[in-house]
Symmetry: C2
Subunit: 556 residues, 2 copies
């Protein structure tokens, strides 16, 4: 930046008028009321509610206008922004600090000079090169949603195939079910929702099936036919409508052509100030690589909150404010019919693949005090580093209160709290909202048991190995619970009888389990206190059972 | 502790078998399977759900047994605990390490020796010495609840007066309304819920009145009559039933008589290990003084989660584990009909009284994205130190999502996050759960505006002073909003017109306001950027209006 140059003489061009681009533009205006700010958007709409699109398709959000948060006119009036839609930036001349701009209608081109350029082009749905793929819809823009609602109204499709079991795929499947279509979901992986570990995803699969979504896991789409799709192996699924949701890739065409650095994950490389390798060009949002908070490595996190955050940081940097690196966790949440799934940080698959040392904890708490009506079951998984005790990630599946627990854990990770410190958090307790020992506190207590008491737990996927090595398996639940379903090969010795029936226990190593892990913990404490080698099965029967239900327990 | 003494030879006596006492006993057992643990409880019940009692009285929790989480028999079976109910410890002989125990039935006394003594006697309802007070009920124990449900069933009272507008008082008022009684609430202070600042409590007063609770604020009970109560000034309120809920005081009779140190707030003094001034005696729960997290001073925080936490810490300390001080925030939550109120840390009244420097922020966000159905309004208040930027406290009033936001803020305070760092938190976002800029992020952005942009805001209670000093007041909302209600003396100049109508503004200092503070922020940024001295009214018209509605705006 030329020394002494007045901020307000600066001209900033922003490419892309959704989320990040708009956050940058409005922040820039608030910081500098007279700056020259021009925003180019090649699509028809600005600043729309991308995350609401599946729900508009499903009829939950009935008013299409509600999704259009701003218009060029409203942005002109309020923020004095020059926003031009259907106008594409097609080239950057870095040496001359000029962009070439093409009007989508008519194709006329001209040049615009900039002092600072902010790239916020977003990401585009990945469309594989398969026969018939041009018949598949995607759902990324308001225009996409309009196409879908038109086809739903005009052609009255009865069957749909959704390809891809990520967030958008699941939201789309639910909303197409809501519109009455018979929906099949095709996913290449052996599970939906890759951020979940296999034992955590079981209830999601069950919920989808319970609501009539036909799951095709480990299935590859090979062809889109006029009224069906074909999978590898030849299976044909009826599909009046095909929706493709296998992910997005950063829009880097413009950046690449301009010689900007692209990172290992395929996004534009930026520094803490969101600056690319060209000091006059910034980039933000889905198009750029973020710095991971757990591993410090480059990561693609195509989420609206991250894009908004980066837009503000870019504006701050452009106006000379000090900006510190925002490392990202990728906290995310999705509603799947009556189930809520939320995640933050790394999962066990990723920790294992990276060779990180970690400890997992599974619990199955109630959303609030069990004696108060309406408590809903939840499954929680916490991952932490047993050496420095830092929390590495968390997953939650349930109903009420799932969002709250993941938000608290995301905050704890951000702040660098240790897993055992969760025991000390003071969370708002009344019986309608939590428990006197909140599920978050319980995670902390369990971490403390492991870290300072020397208690040992066994993970669900380690059980078969331990049994093969000669350990005996003891179910400390009641006979009725045992009869209703138990792990093969376990003997039943209820916790409340254990103290008086110690002589009935097999000699050698013991693995103890109950329904969710709590009675197992008490039993293990008793047995180890009496000098027996005992290990508690983490998460109890419920986690073990969910792991068996997983389509790929070998993943861990 | 005698060096080399084996933990398992130790005898621990615990006084009090609810919350803290039971947490200590069960933790002690898990840490030491052969220790001798005796628990004395003078009441009839152990380990019951105190916080559920108002809802049992109201018929929300229909099953009384659901409140009784444990019995002496179940505790014997599972934890090998010797729990004796209706057995009161009446004296401690510290020199001999012996307690004198009296059976409530029959009055027989004997002595029991201890190696370690844990006092968990709780707190008792405060009962003022007023004529007729013996007719008033309290609601602290299962026995209290039984008395109330009996009287409700047998005598069919039609009118009730609840004395005290704290958590228990409000929960009781709601539940008596639920039972169909005409309820009056008498509160000595000019507002209910002392943890809320006056402008935050207005919606609570409105909600109580909307549900037919007659509020008598600033009113002192002087007399309980056979079918009514009398207030100072002579007003008579019909009262077939009188419920006293003006607070609790620590049960320190036993500790005082034994010469244990009592702190300035009237609770037993303990160190980080929950140890009293007698190295063999520990004390926990409502009876003891905690160390405040914001101010480091002694505080009484009679909450179940704190009692449970301290029970575990005492057991840890007794068995020789390292215990670090648990400083407490007093996070709390209460449901008041359709409203949820939650708080953490200090409020503005307390900060001001303590002479602390602080900055307040008020916002009125939606619980989730406005374009997704069902979003509920919320009022949030954040207090932070403008020098070290640390968060000092927060208050939230609304519906859905109030508990989540306060839990995140309580976690942030615990971890020492700064107010502006809230902008960087990654909270789970999907339109049904939050916004791409969550209300928590928005608090962080506003803090950043104040801390690093030099934006200035004016608080609702500072407005009259600023106007008297000659500032002009500008309403930047739409004419329709202005017409629907505005601050007297304000001129209306909508934000979207502001840029082109600058010449219509009065000269001199400007105070700008909108509905909730957001447009006011944009207007202030524009005006200050154009070298006008402008200040935004924090929280906008809504906070100002709530402050006017408060019964004591002079409190701040």
């Amino acid at each position: 930046m030329a020394a002494g140059k007045r901020v307000s003489q600066m001209r900033t061009i922003i490419v892309g008028a959704v989320a990040g681009g708009m956050s940058a533009a409005t922040r820039l205006r608030r910081l500098d009321p007279t700056a020259d700010i021009v925003v180019f958007e090649r699509g028809n709409h600005v600043s729309y509610a991308n995350c609401g699109l599946p729900y508009h398709v499903g009829g939950v959000i009935t008013d299409r206008e509600a999704l259009l948060l701003q218009t060029p006119a409203s942005l002109r009036a309020r923020f004095d922004l020059d926003v031009r839609v259907r106008t594409e930036v097609v080239a950057i001349d870095r040496a001359r600090q000029v962009v070439r701009v093409r009007e989508v209608d008519g194709g006329r081109e001209h040049e615009e000079g900039y002092d600072r350029l902010v790239l916020s082009p977003g990401a585009a749905p990945i469309v594989p090169d398969l026969p018939g793929i041009e018949r598949a819809f995607t759902l990324r823009t308001v225009t996409d949603a309009d196409r879908l609602t038109t086809v739903l109204a005009d052609r009255q499709p009865r069957t749909a195939v959704v390809v891809g079991g990520g967030f958008i795929g699941l939201e789309s499947a639910e909303n197409l079910r809501r519109r009455g279509l018979a929906v099949s979901l095709v996913e290449l992986d052996t599970q939906v929702l890759a951020p979940l570990d296999p034992e955590m995803v079981s209830p999601v699969h069950a919920e989808l099936r319970r609501h009539g979504v036909a799951l095709h896991l480990g299935a590859a789409l090979t062809k889109v036919l006029p009224d069906a799709v074909e999978l590898a192996g030849g299976q044909i699924l009826s599909a009046d409508l095909v929706l493709l949701a296998i992910g997005v890739r950063p829009e880097t065409t413009l950046a690449l052509a301009a010689g900007l650095t692209i990172g290992p994950r395929g996004g534009i490389t930026v520094d803490a100030s969101m600056r690319t390798n060209d000091p006059h060009i910034y980039a933000i949002g889905d198009a750029v690589e973020k710095t991971d908070r757990i591993g410090a490595e480059p990561a693609l996190i195509p989420l609206a909150n991250t894009a908004n955050r980066q837009g503000r940081l870019a504006a701050d940097a452009i106006t000379g404010k000090t900006v510190t690196l925002s490392r990202r966790l990728g906290t995310a949440i999705v509603q799947i019919f009556d189930l809520t799934v939320a995640v933050t940080g790394w999962n066990e698959k990723r920790l294992r693949a990276a060779g990180r040392t970690y400890q997992a904890i599974h619990t199955h708490p109630a959303s609030h005090a069990g004696y108060y009506p309406g408590a809903q079951p939840m499954s929680l998984k916490l991952l932490f580093d047993p050496h420095d005790r830092r929390i590495l990630g968390a997953q939650a599946v349930g109903g009420e209160g799932v969002d709250k627990r993941i938000d608290v854990l995301a905050t704890a990770i951000h702040a660098g709290l240790t897993a055992d410190e969760l025991a000390d958090l003071e969370l708002a307790y009344a019986p309608a909202f939590g428990s006197a020992k909140d599920p978050i506190n319980m995670l902390g207590y369990i971490a403390d048991n492991l870290l300072t008491d020397g208690q040992r737990t066994l993970q669900w996927h380690e059980l078969s190995g331990a049994l093969a090595a000669g350990a005996a398996l003891v179910d400390v639940r009641t006979p009725a619970e045992h009869a209703a379903g138990h792990i093969p090969g376990s003997i039943n010795l209820p916790l409340d009888d254990l103290r008086h029936r110690l002589d009935e226990l097999p000699t050698g190593d013991l693995i103890v389990y109950c329904q969710v892990g709590q009675r197992g913990h008490t039993a293990t404490a008793l047995l180890t206190g009496l000098n027996r080698r005992a290990t508690n099965l983490d998460g109890g029967y419920r986690t073990w059972h969910a792991g068996q239900g997983s389509d790929d327990s070998a993943a861990l």
